[in-house]
Point group: C2
Chain length 532, copies 2
């Protein structure tokens, strides 16, 4: 800025700073309805930052959960649910293990369907128990929150936001059946925006484009399967017919964990804020891990984790993997809680937990074996570590495809991969310099940003809290129906006008011709009669 | 950020800071091909910031220009052109004065057309002389720039970027005929995205939507009228057939001077960076103006300017305006270089130039009378000053409509307005509190942003310089033709498959029926013959 030029005034921000200097309360009050599992892990970092900025954060979660635990950074309001921790964990593990089970497509499809149905039922049950918890609802009503932050993939928070008339901020990777595009009115051309679970890239052949367009059909059923129970619950609770799409459309700001070094460039709406890599801050390694890494010598280490939810795999698979890991000179740190494979090589260390991002940030890390969860992949990108991907379920196949299409990793099929395949893939990403070069390029692009995605996320949550929403970012498309949005009524009208004009012109011409011909006919007749 | 958590590494940025601390050259080299007039004024601020960050900035401009003058902040490379300063200024003034001339629509349309044609010819001529200036081209070639910054509304910079194989950053308010949407592959639904010059809002009636869709037709001619001469020039210079759209598509990043407190929310692409209000930094008032403002007493002041290009208007109009200005108790500061109207009231001070943004930032400023240029309007929004708008040409009518639709100002028709209309409008925006409330709300929303648009603009110019473009932000849609993009080939194929399936099913049914009926017939016949 030129000397003498004062910075433009950011009134609310300036005020906040001034008041906080005076020791006065400046924070707002945020209600958070999180989603369990890895979804929670990155959201928690945003909550920590919000708390540090002086806001009161209240998290509402069921008493039974995988990762959502109380913290000094927020008030935790827990509500009872009619299932036990053991029961839920058993259901989760049963679902996760399907990825390792061989069998026909139909058998696996049916098992997956049953597993998803069971987990879905738990979500709905949990939401139902939240909404009928009168005491908790009364507390929430009386607390006068400024906004609600939720991951809409489980739309329980949406129902609560509607009930409490709170503006909401969504924090998500995406909605599985593509309902996020519809809810934000964001264009989504099937010609180059690959559909979820299609494993397609943004460059498709003709038949891939046919497949991508047809992918919208099962999505309709997926939406229905996943969201219909919540729509029923919402309609009963809010005493009016309401769909999950209706609720989703109310979102003020969508903090989307995408970024275009990984995800394919596509249209966005002004209230969609890409915050991919939001959770990539890393700490110094603990002494224990620092010692392991330093002992790895010139070859360095490989980090291996199948995510926060999968820490145990069938013994046969574990032995195949162990076999392959023995073929590289690197020390492999493997997060694994199952029984130790008898063939575990010397260079592999099993750990019950590992500081994944801190390890990836270490310059001695040569490769990352991952299940392809979006969090892990962004950590790989942030720290420029080439990846071997073993996707298991959900969006992991798509994520793996993205990394592979960028030349930054290799994907293996968890069911079909042999020990040799794993070994070859791992040695390739470590020794073939192009993988490191490609991930380094992605990393450089990803980290060269005007503002850190965590600050961006915090800003937009605060924005919605300060202004009670963000109506100026809401496109007018929300007020149009499908026919109007696509101008089909206008086109039909113009076609009608065109056809009418043509018809009238034709009729006029015909009339003129007839009159002219008739005159001529009459003249001829008259002439003829004269000659007679 | 939690204690002990180190900030994520921004390698290039960290490197730049380190090197600059060591006193080593860290800057890149930027070539700038600006557009004259108000377009230049905000771009200059970005250049000042870039220079302060250690970059070498070289501006290429014709010797004859309205506002582009040498500065200590950049190297100015001027090239001769075959027209004089006086000639050009005369042409400009002639064009600007058309706005004040009464007459039939056709007369005014033809005059505007002629005026635009003349100014267009000057632009093309200037570009032609740049491209045939061998010495300058050799210098540019040898200078090894990292990137080129230009306003593509005059596509001369685009031709130069292509010739020098430089990645380019565009800095613009928009391309008049909507070619920016096509060039960025940005969806632009006519159902709620009003077309340029249509004066429509994002909420349209059915017939307004018909009109908006039909507005795309004259845009085709406007594009052709404005850009065909440049396409011809580019094709000759680059020795291959090239259109302006082809060149525009090469833009790495589009710094678009839009923002959604003023402009209507609509889809964006990842390489479109909204930087509306980029130029809103203000300085302290000079003693001269501070004294005038302070002398205005409790009523404060009104700022009146028709922009950097219009400082003189016909006497009849000036007298009408002067008359109206006398009816308010505020002191009016009017930027005006013409002969003093004989009826000039006591409270009106004519000045040859005024520090518009610094005056608007003064708490005593009550209203802003403006022609509705985007710069002025953003200054009005930044400083929360209600506006009376007198749009003259270009996008000013649309801008005025936007302010009016937000309830932050009133628009007058420069030709039809009477002294009474001006007085009423001015007094309304000053005395009716809703105008101040609305502009204050817009201002609060506009200023509450995670990063200042000037820093955002500077970041993205530097990004393109550092990475030689931003290919990861380029949508794959660029590789599809119109039919493919809209999936028309896929839909045709699916329709064909559907019809073929129906046809085959129908044929099969027919065949079965025939066989069945035939058998029945034969059976009947056989039965009949047996009975005989």
């Amino acid at each position: 800025m030129a000397p003498g030029v004062s910075a433009p005034l950011h009134f609310p921000v300036t005020l906040v700073v001034l008041l906080s200097l005076l020791g006065l309360a400046v924070g707002g009050k945020l209600l958070v309805v999180p989603v369990d599992g890895s979804h929670w892990l990155s959201m928690r970092q945003v909550l920590d930052s919000l708390q540090q900025k002086g806001h009161d954060v209240v998290v509402v979660a069921p008493e039974v959960s995988l990762h959502i635990k109380p913290s000094k950074n927020f008030v935790m309001k827990m509500y009872p649910v009619p299932f036990t921790q053991e029961g839920m964990e058993k259901d989760f593990q049963a679902f996760l293990q399907i990825s390792f089970e061989e069998g026909s497509f139909l058998t696996r499809f049916l098992k997956t369907y049953e597993g998803m149905k069971r987990l879905g039922e738990l979500s709905v049950l949990s939401c139902e128990w939240l909404l009928k918890n009168q005491e908790l609802l009364r507390y929430l009503q009386e607390s006068q929150f400024d906004a609600l932050l939720t991951d809409p993939v489980v739309p329980c928070g949406l129902i609560l936001a509607e009930h409490l008339s709170l503006p909401s901020v969504y924090f998500l990777r995406g909605v599985p059946c593509g309902l996020d595009f519809e809810a934000t009115q964001c264009p989504n051309p099937p010609s180059y925006v690959p559909r979820g679970f299609s494993q397609l890239t943004d460059h498709m052949t003709f038949f891939q484009r046919v497949g991508n367009l047809l992918f919208d059909l099962p999505n309709v059923f997926l939406c229905d399967f996943g969201f219909q129970p919540f729509a029923k619950l919402a309609s009963e609770f809010l005493h009016r017919d309401v769909t999950v799409l209706d609720l989703l459309r109310q979102g003020s700001v969508w903090l989307l964990r995408v970024e275009f070094v990984l995800d394919y460039p596509r249209p966005l709406m002004p209230n969609i804020i890409p915050i991919g890599g939001v959770h990539c801050a890393h700490k110094k390694l603990t002494q224990e891990f620092e010692a392991i890494v330093n002992a790895s010598g010139e070859h360095g280490i490989v980090v291996f984790s199948l995510g926060s939810m999968v820490s145990e795999i069938p013994m046969k698979k574990a032995m195949e993997i162990a076999d392959a890991l023995g073929t590289v000179p690197q020390t492999v740190l493997w997060r694994y809680t199952g029984p130790t494979p008898p063939n575990l090589p010397q260079n592999v260390k099993l750990v019950k937990w590992l500081p994944q991002n801190d390890l990836l940030a270490h310059p001695k890390t040569r490769a990352f074996i991952t299940h392809g969860g979006s969090h892990g992949i962004y950590e790989g990108i942030c720290n420029a570590v080439p990846m071997v991907l073993m996707p298991l379920f959900g969006d992991q196949m798509d994520n793996a495809k993205r990394v592979e299409s960028r030349g930054a990793g290799l994907t293996l099929n968890i069911l079909e991969m042999t020990s040799q395949d794993i070994s070859t893939a791992l040695r390739t990403v470590i020794n073939d310099k192009t993988y490191k070069e490609n991930i380094q390029r992605l990393s450089d692009l990803h980290l060269d940003r005007p503002i850190h995605p965590l600050d961006l996320a915090v800003h937009w949550v605060e924005f919605v809290m300060r202004h009670k929403g963000a109506p100026h970012l809401r496109p007018a498309a929300h007020d149009l129906n499908w026919v109007q949005y696509h101008s089909l009524d206008v086109l039909a009208f113009l076609l009608f006008v065109l056809l009418l004009s043509l018809f009238i012109s034709f009729k006029c011409c015909l009339c003129c011709c007839r009159r002219f011909c008739g005159k001529k006919g009459r003249t001829k007749k008259a002439a003829k009669s004269k000659t007679h």
